[in-house]
Amino acid sequence: MSDRTLTYGQAFSEAIRLEMEADPNVFIAGEDVGAHGGVFHTFDGVQSEFGERRAVDTPISEQAIIGLGVGAAVTGLRPIVDLMFMDFSLVAADQIVNQAAKLKYMFGGEAKLPMVITTHGGAGLSAAAQHSQSLEALFCHIPGLQVVFPSNAYDVKGLMASAILEDNPVLFVLHKRMLGLKGPVPEGRYTVPLGQAMVTREGSDVTVVSWGRTHNEALAAAETLAGEGVQVEVIDLRTLSPLDTATVVASVKKTNRVVVAHEAVRFGGFGAEVAAQIQEEAFDYLDAPVGRVGAPFSPVPFTPALENLYVPDAARIAESVRAALARPLLG
């Protein structure tokens, strides 16, 4: 590992700048991504390095932003198009789901659609119900898309490089509460492959599967539980679609107990898919039901007094792990 550190947000813009240097067909477009460097400054430095031609400020037109990406990608460019807040993906859902995701298949497989849709998800800024959602479950359900949701600066850079180099549409989600989080990031170009989960802490008693900001809560929960004598194995999915079931199942076969934790609403969340697959593939190894931690069934509340209760944290993950462990062995 490098001793240079960057923030999660800086790692993102560095990946973009390096890939734009490497390939003249890569460009960024979106609202305020150019002169302003993005509302969260995750595109800082791109326009100053590459100019207005390759760092394009667009009107407030999410459908046309994605459509611009689709049209440019199918004709040979490699667009990175930004949606600012993940909530706005709903404004552009037709272009993402009915166009970008399906175009290649509908066209008989000949087309190539190398585009990255970037966005900022998650709660924690008191931004209320329309600026705080974690909507990854919606897009994981859509064949033709890939969905990435990193938890640290190193992965942000490496996964973003992979996403840009990828020939399929990728939805790349940054968690907006993690943008300032620092971590070691090597200087040059490197990739972290899409579709590979990572065991970020080894343990033998129970597995916690997670991603994004919740993954770091899982690590914190593991630390707490270590103090209680429980060895938690933590897995960061990193890419949600395609799902690296093998890594998850291998861990569960070792620990026999597992909790899936995410920030999104629990009901119908992507954790359900992970849980369903685990019980399908490791049924005989499970000593307790697959636990799931997620947000309760409500929109994200504005006031910190409620938002703090809403967002799943280390304490709730630890609680769910304890419940999984408390379960007596049967038979």
Binding site: D32, D57, I60, L125, A129, P301, F302, L306
Partner: protein, 326 residues
């Protein structure tokens, strides 16, 4: 229709309420007492007030991310607003909505909105309701210049015209959408050029002049009440602070000189000069209004500060309505 001195003073007071409410909120945000994003309305007061003075309490409005001014102008309760912005249980939304979802259904204020353009179709729905019930109520959609580039605005404007609904579209053209100058986001200077594409009349008005805004809106509203369909009013205005937060000068995307020039056309101070010059009010009367509002704001802050945060049990309340028409 001439405005009475009392009406003009009321309009002045309403603008001052917006101004002082926003500046107080800005200060509270600066000192960490106000969570979330604040999009201040300061500078644009003449639009909300000029428009809402042309409305009845039972008329509907929809608003935007920059919505406090619209609620104040529609008669909003400053204490409940301040409490909401602070995330308190006594706020308009019980602390669950905050700045971007503030609303008062009893005043026909159908909500600020965090999604650009999304309030406009909702106003069309309210207009539909008015026509459906045979009422002469109207619905006003407020939206920014840059919001007219989003599909929802277009669909709503067209639908209101196609269905001939009593909806007035009020565009607040403040020359920017976040940090992008609107001239980069559209190849036309005036949003009003879009009105003809829907088949409605449109008018440009000086958004720093509350009387001009009022007059233009009165006409559009009267038309709508008569069942003559939608109209668009474009008010040229300016936000004195940053897109969100309280910075004024020294931002990268707006020349300081531009900000200063617009501030010289402050909608409140220029109106005060006219009130005094026209003999409608004395400087003392005006100062008295400011003092009253200052006291109201102080009381609102006190109310908000002394209010409790919502109980944990509130978290899951209100996701669904119990019961129904059964």
């Amino acid at each position: 229709m001439e405005l009475t001195p009392a009406q003009q003073l009321a309009m002045h007071k309403s603008m001052v309420r917006i101004r002082l409410f926003e500046e107080a909120a800005g200060k509270l945000m600066e000192t960490g007492q106000m969570p979330g994003f604040l999009h201040l309305y300061v500078g644009q007061e003449a639009v909300a007030v000029g428009v809402c003075e042309a409305l009845r309490v039972d008329d509907y409005i929809t608003s935007t991310h920059r919505g406090h001014g619209h609620l104040v102008a529609k008669g909003g309760d400053l204490a409940k607003m301040m409490a909401e912005l602070m995330g308190k249980a006594t706020g308009y939304c019980g602390g669950k909505g905050g700045s971007m979802h503030i609303n008062d259904l009893s005043l026909g204020m159908l909500g600020a909105n965090g999604i650009v353009g999304a309030g406009v179709p909702i106003a069309v729905g309210a207009g539909f309701r008015n026509k459906y019930l045979g009422s002469d109520q109207v619905a006003v959609a407020f939206f920014g210049d840059a919001s007219t580039n989003i599909g929802a605005f277009h669909e709503a404007a067209n639908m209101a015209c196609a269905l001939h609904l009593p909806v007035v579209f009020v565009c607040e053209h403040n020359m920017y959408g976040e940090y992008t100058p609107t001239e980069k986001a559209m190849a036309i200077a005036d949003v009003v050029d879009r009105a003809a594409g829907y088949g409605m009349p449109g008018v440009i008005v000086d958004g720093m002049d509350v009387l001009a805004v009022h007059e233009a809106t009165l006409e559009a509203v009267a038309r709508a009440r008569r069942g003559e369909g939608p109209a668009l009013v474009e008010a040229k205005t300016y936000r004195f602070y940053n897109h969100h937060g309280i910075q004024t000068l020294g931002v990268k995307y707006r020349p300081d000189a531009e900000v200063i020039a617009w501030k010289e056309r402050d909608p409140i101070f220029t109106f005060e000069d006219r009130l005094v010059e026209g003999g409608v009010a004395s400087r003392d009367q005006i100062e008295e209004q400011w003092a009253q509002v200052r006291a109201d704001i102080a009381a609102a802050i006190e109310f908000a500060e002394n209010s409790p945060y919502p109980e944990p049990s509130a978290l899951l309340a209100g996701v669904y309505t119990a019961g129904g028409a059964k």
